[in-house]
């Protein structure tokens, strides 16, 4: 399977390489048709995973990886959706395994999958608020716990608390503390 064959089978898409996988970027409207063509015409019958990527202002990216058992080759299909309307077509009708992967992506990123039979939460405990894998989701333990490395050498805890010097923030804590 070469990038040219992939482009020919799926229509006008961008193809590139990522390690040994071919990666194609697909417009949102063609998401389901492209994945169907990949399964039927390119014999990528093994559904590996589906996940999301939070690209901040560029919206969300949905990535699905398919594998060909006969050709032993992998293909990643990616599509973008805007932050204001984070929905794509569901692949659960094309690959049954996509059902739970889409439920996970929906609860962790807040994505919608149109046509999915039941987008109930899968992994998070009941009553969980928010979408943890979005980049603006703050890990409260990092905000609550005082960073032991925030003190300067030779500074005691009392001095550090009272100091008006600009503090060195730990990783993962936004400047405002809470979102």
């Amino acid at each position: 399977m070469t990038p040219d064959e992939v482009v020919a089978a799926l229509g006008a898409v961008q193809a590139s390489m990522s390690y040994d996988d071919i990666v194609v970027d697909v417009p949102r409207e063609q998401w389901a048709t492209a994945v169907t063509a990949a399964r039927d015409d390119l014999h990528l019958t093994f559904f590996d995973f589906l996940t999301g990527v939070d690209l901040l202002d560029d919206g969300f990216e949905v990535v699905v990886r398919l594998w060909s058992l006969s050709g032993r080759a992998g293909l990643q299909l990616r599509t973008r959706c805007p932050r204001a309307d984070p929905t794509v077509s569901s692949l659960s009708g094309i690959f049954a395994g996509a059902d739970w992967h889409e439920r996970q992506a929906a609860e962790l990123f807040g994505l919608g999958f149109v046509g999915h039979p039941r987008l109930d939460p899968l992994l998070l405990p009941p009553g969980f608020e928010g979408h943890p894998l979005r980049k603006e989701f703050v890990l409260t333990a990092r905000v609550e716990k005082v960073w032991p490395g925030g003190k300067e050498p030779g500074e005691s805890a009392v001095e550090a608390a009272g100091s008006r010097r600009r503090k060195h923030l730990p990783l993962g804590v936004p400047p405002t503390g809470r979102p």
Binding site: K145, W147, P148, G149, K151, E152, P153, G154, E155, S156, A157, P170
Partner: protein
Amino acid sequence: MNADEQDLVLRTASGEGHYPDAEPELPPRARGAIGLIEENCTVCMLCARECPDWCLYIDSHKEPLPPLGPQGRPRVRNVLDRFAIDFSLCMYCGICIEVCPFDALFWTPEFAYAGLAATDLVHERDLLGEWMASVPEPPALDPAAAPAPEATDAAATERGTAPPR
């Protein structure tokens, strides 16, 4: 089962060679607890900053030192007040030991320090200093390797050929 397998079963079921009757044979770089050489610590805070679990708690203050010579400036030294490692959080990654520029932290293979309370697992600097007693010898240097800069500098100082400070 053959004679060797029977032997193995009898040996393992007999209770001999088992903890606590016998200590386990530990590999050379086994990670158990972390020892601290307080004299080497300059309180640079690198270990506390790099720890992914935020489990090193360091407090210090500055103390003045007299100048080195008649034209010298007054100097300042960091003095440790508290150096604690919370082993209930520690994930034994070794980043603190790797990042310490002054070789103040060392691995020791001690593993038997369970506690009846979670606070028993916060080891203060006296206990961290005691762990140094069980730190194994470092591996021997490769005889074919170039000599370490510390050794060449020390030799040059003795000969009187070291560059002036």
